[in-house]
């Protein structure tokens, strides 16, 4: 049952990416292209995607997180870290470069698979390899000694 619900929630997320235009890398790159402002080619749409998403999530999380527990789980799994370590800057810097090169972040790249795009398939395969590599390196003894706690996936 919850698996079917999670599928439906994924569909809603994917529809949001398509309707908003984020599934089109050209649109994302034109947003990131602040150098295109003088020429008039800058596309500010992505700011409206973020605004719409954050407005709904801010209000929704405020209500949901007041509940005793989620509908189908024992507790809320909300990140608790507050420290600014090197990885919270290095990771997003690396991710941002990849994002700026092609215009895909993980969500739109996965949704692009459903467009039947061979380019998206190549990107997603490389992206998954990068993800596995990052988790592998994070688990090496030398890496875990420097960064504690060593859960690379906790937001």
């Amino acid at each position: 049952m919850t698996i079917l619900i999670q599928f439906g929630i994924g569909v809603v997320f994917g529809l949001g990416l398509i309707v908003s235009g984020m599934s089109n890398p050209a649109k994302v790159l034109n947003f990131l292209d602040v150098g295109g402002i003088p020429a008039g080619t800058w596309d500010a749409s992505l700011a409206f995607v973020m605004a719409g998403a954050i407005a709904v999530t801010f209000i929704g999380f405020g209500r949901v997180l007041k509940l005793a527990r989620p509908a189908f789980a024992d507790r809320f799994y909300v990140p608790t870290r507050k420290d600014i370590d090197p990885r919270i800057i290095a990771g997003p810097a690396i991710f941002g470069i990849g994002w700026g090169l092609v215009g895909f972040c993980p969500g739109p790249a996965l949704t692009a698979l459903g467009f039947g795009s061979a380019s998206a398939f190549i990107f997603v395969a490389a992206m998954c390899a990068g993800m596995v590599l990052a988790r592998f390196i994070a688990q090496l003894p030398s890496a875990t000694r420097v960064v504690t706690p060593a859960d690379p996936l906790e937001t």
């Binding site: 992206m127 596995v132 988790r135």
Partner: protein
Amino acid sequence: MVVTPFTPIASLFGGALIGLSAVLLMWTTGRIAGVSGIAARLFPPYEDRQFAGRLAFVAGLVIAPVLVRLVTGSLPAQTIAAGTPLLIVAGLLTGFGAVWGSGCTSGHGVCGLSRLSVRSLVATMTFMAAGMATVFVMRHWS
């Protein structure tokens, strides 16, 4: 480059759908709708028993355009102007960086900022700046 039209209404509405998805996932499963975290955990090592749910979420992401095409008969424009080597390099950087930095546009940019997380604010400002710098170099430095 391809010039894209400014679509504030559609983008605001689509963004709201993304937010709705994040709220529904938190309400039902108690988890952050961070696509990189969900996708990365489809691969070993497995730390919990949430594999099927994560796979279902990712399957939903992939099926969404198929449903759009079934219902409307077409799909919106999608322009990917990159050759295979660039796709591979960008994919590796995107996947590695998103996991190394504990999240991507959805986990930090949407869910994290909505929780007023300072870590997510730092991450979001960093990947926005890095993305903008990269596009600037690619488009204006040649």
